[in-house]
Symmetry: C2
């Protein structure tokens, strides 16, 4: 019972879609199809919540049945039809209650760290490769986040934006993603270097 809140939070951000009707302010609430949501999840929310598209579709269906989101069919001619969802007032109330309740400790699971933990007992060759691969993926994400952040804050500088901007939630979580990936890159590169040196020393010996 927790993916639901991530979905609600992601839906709230709204916009970023190419959905025709920009008319009618819905109280800062956006509209997404399951498909769009899946993509938004991938780049934004994935920094703190991982989920597969199938889960999102299933969760949206459940949320609709419970009245926390409202869906409407959009018939398209050039594309398959889709259903757009927006958060209802009940959904907003649910999110508010969630925010007030105590948080579960954060949950992490990382194969690569397990491999590093076992580095003294296994062949480090492939592990080094994976660390370098990860560092370069992190690098790419860092650039992406930089762009996303610049776009979100527009003309304002960061301090200014955080003080007066409307809708800073996604900005703050994106900052976290950025810091995480920077840390990820630093650590991966350092560990790769350490393991490489030790391999070299081992061969010479």
């Amino acid at each position: 019972m927790a993916l639901r809140h991530a979905v609600l939070a992601a839906l709230l951000v709204g916009d970023g879609s190419d959905a025709g009707d920009t008319g009618g302010d819905s109280g800062g609430r956006g509209e997404y199809s399951g498909y769009q949501l899946a993509k938004a999840f991938d780049i934004g929310v994935a920094n703190f919540w991982h989920a597969l598209p199938q889960q999102l579709y299933a969760e949206l269906a459940k949320l609709e049945k419970e009245g926390l989101v409202a869906g409407r069919q959009v018939i398209q001619e050039t594309r398959p039809n889709k259903r757009l969802f927006r958060v209802t007032d009940a959904g907003l109330a649910e999110l508010d209650a969630f925010a007030a309740a105590s948080s579960k400790p954060s949950f992490i699971r990382d194969d690569l760290l397990v491999k590093v933990q076992a580095a003294d007992s296994v062949d480090t060759g492939p592990v080094i490769e994976q660390l370098e691969e990860r560092a370069s993926v992190a690098e790419a994400k860092i650039e992406l986040f930089g762009k996303v952040l610049r776009k979100m804050r527009g003309e304002l500088d960061e301090e200014e934006f955080l003080r007066r901007g409307e809708r800073i939630g996604p900005y703050l979580t994106c900052l976290r993603g950025l810091a995480l990936e920077q840390e990820n890159r630093e650590w991966s590169m350092r560990v790769a270097a350490v393991l490489r040196e030790r391999r070299a020393a081992h061969v010479e010996r």
Copy 2:
């Protein structure tokens, strides 16, 4: 099929136990009871792999059935009897294969980040409290990790240890945990401050 590798990696570290027999080198492999493993997981492995005690017991039983770990009964008079497990050669081979295979992308899930993402639409009061709570928990972990790292490297300084120390895997993962918690603390404090300021501005308005 992945918790198993985290368990194997954790078992390899070994030692830290008060088990009587320190005689007989087992090739750098330690021995743990399920109970001890659960505690070791909590402080060490939990930085990159979260698991409940029940899962560990279940996984140890499976691993034993498959011959990847070997258990032996230890009869105790002052305490309930226990079973100690050590990784077998087959277990080591399994870990090695795992290390060589490609890694799944890391998996993260964090309630508090979901709340921050929704910060523009919910009451931020409780969220601020939770952020501050998290910062202080992170602070405590930072100190703990500092101690653990100092203990692991002994007399040597870090560079020296990473070059010549035996068993650096757990050290490297602990470094990661440290960096993660530092980042966690910085971010939590900053976000709490930003949200506080905005609340204040909102009231004045």
